[in-house]
């Protein structure tokens, strides 16, 4: 889609490409002009864009998805991407910076700038150092020191991993992915046991309260009947004494 567009709209795309790029394009374009000889800078810019689209469209996809994962995408899909990233890293240092610098650069607004070192490397893998220097300069100019710090230790000749947050993250998640089946089983088991205990406690609570209420009721009924009986007895005792009082009697006679 990209190349066809550019082929169809030469002038407009040229202008667009030229306007959208900025001074940051100057260094990579100058280096690519040696590989793909075109007349003005705009043509080389086109070539750069085409190369980006052709060679690294799939790279872009891979880079963007970890970035979205950075922004907390669903963890279900991420481990697979991270696993693939790690495998790529372990495959060789050449592949590593492809995925790492754009993710570490942490600015989504500059995917083209981050992928230019990529295209540089893919185009001429033999002359890595020169292009690295170029990309380093470019990276510094585009004010993402992450790239420079990233690439330089990676290409210092050692196989050691750069201290990237992505690298560590993918490593950890790789381990997490591998132990997930057993860990989740344990977690489910623990949860089940906890739930059982909680259910047992709930039943015990209910039973205890029911029993308490039943005992209360029994107690109150008993007290009630006892009191009623007592009342009856008192009443009858009162009634037994009362008839004497009810009859009118002369207690004392007036003298007059």
């Amino acid at each position: 889609m990209w190349p066809s567009e550019q082929d169809n709209h030469h002038g407009s795309s040229n202008n667009r490409a030229a306007s959208s790029s900025s001074s940051s394009r100057t260094s990579p374009s100058s280096t690519t002009s040696t590989l793909l000889p075109r007349t003005p800078k705009r043509r080389t810019m086109e070539e750069v864009w085409r190369d980006i689209s052709l060679c690294s469209l799939h790279h872009q996809e891979r880079q963007l998805t970890p970035m979205t994962h950075h922004q907390r995408h669903s963890p279900a899909t991420s481990p697979s991407f991270r696993a693939t990233m790690l495998q790529d890293f372990l495959a060789g240092p050449l592949n590593r910076p492809h995925a790492v610098p754009p993710a570490a650069a942490d600015d989504v607004t500059r995917p083209p700038s981050s992928t230019t070192p990529l295209t540089q490397l893919s185009l001429s893998p033999t002359s890595l150092e020169i292009q690295l220097m170029g990309s380093d300069a470019h990276a510094n100019s585009s004010s993402s020191g992450h790239n420079a710090s990233f690439i330089s230790p990676a290409f210092s000749g050692n196989m050691r991993r750069p201290p990237s947050p992505i690298g560590l993250f993918s490593f950890c998640s790789k381990e997490a992915v591998s132990e997930n089946p057993s860990a989740s089983c344990d977690r489910r088991h623990k949860r089940m046991i906890k739930n059982r205990e909680s259910a047992a406690r709930s039943r015990a609570r209910k039973q205890a309260y029911m029993n308490e209420l039943e005992l209360e009721v029994a107690q109150l009924l008993e007290e009630n009947s006892r009191l009623r009986k007592e009342l009856e007895e008192l009443r009858s005792a009162m009634a037994a004494k009362h008839p004497k009082r009810n009859a009118v009697q002369r207690s004392s006679t007036a003298p007059f």
Partner: protein
């Protein structure tokens, strides 16, 4: 299967050993009597209750202990038991205000789960035989009774959960979706 609520609610297992009830104990929060296993919200138990002690001889003194055996969470009671209140030297037939409050009343504020709050009445051998414990948490009523030669004569308990509690579930139906 015993029908005593104290046994069914595992108060006898977790806090006390089986004992014989010999003295009446009446705990009242804001004119509401505590019966075993009844539900009280933290707002209802903010202030100390009126504790009426039975018996008949004013020369016998009692100690009242209020503990939460389900602290901080009934499914993980690492702070069992949490001491909320300790009143000692309560003469028989009177109430707790006649005693010496050596650990001041702390309102139960369960963070999670449904907690049992147990009030135990223990008979002292004499007067001023009980001393203040060091900490409120990880209190043991059994050990305390043994150390101070106290004998349990009455106990009651109620359930307490946090103010916005939904009956023991952790989330309010959010995890059901």
């Amino acid at each position: 299967m015993s029908r005593d609520p104290l046994i069914l609610g595992h108060v006898v297992g977790d806090v006390l050993d089986p004992f014989a009830r010999s003295v009446s104990l009446g705990v009242t929060y804001k004119n509401r009597l505590v019966i075993n296993g009844s539900e009280f919200k933290p707002s209802a138990v903010v202030d100390k209750p009126l504790v009426q002690v039975g018996g008949d001889d004013l020369r016998i003194f009692y100690t009242l202990v209020m503990v939460d055996p389900d602290a901080p969470n009934p499914s993980d009671p690492t702070l069992r038991e949490y001491l909320h209140w300790l009143v000692t030297d309560i003469p028989a037939t009177t109430n707790a205000s006649f005693g010496r409050e050596i650990v001041c009343y702390e309102c139960p504020r369960p963070a999670s789960g449904i907690h049992r709050v147990v009030l135990v009445l223990l008979r002292q051998i004499g007067r001023e035989t009980v001393f203040t414990p060091e900490m409120r948490h990880n209190f043991s009523t059994r050990r305390f009774a043994m150390e101070h030669y106290l004998v349990p004569v009455a106990a009651t308990y109620y359930n307490c959960q946090r103010e916005a509690g939904t009956g023991g579930r952790r989330f309010i139906r959010d995890d059901r979706c």
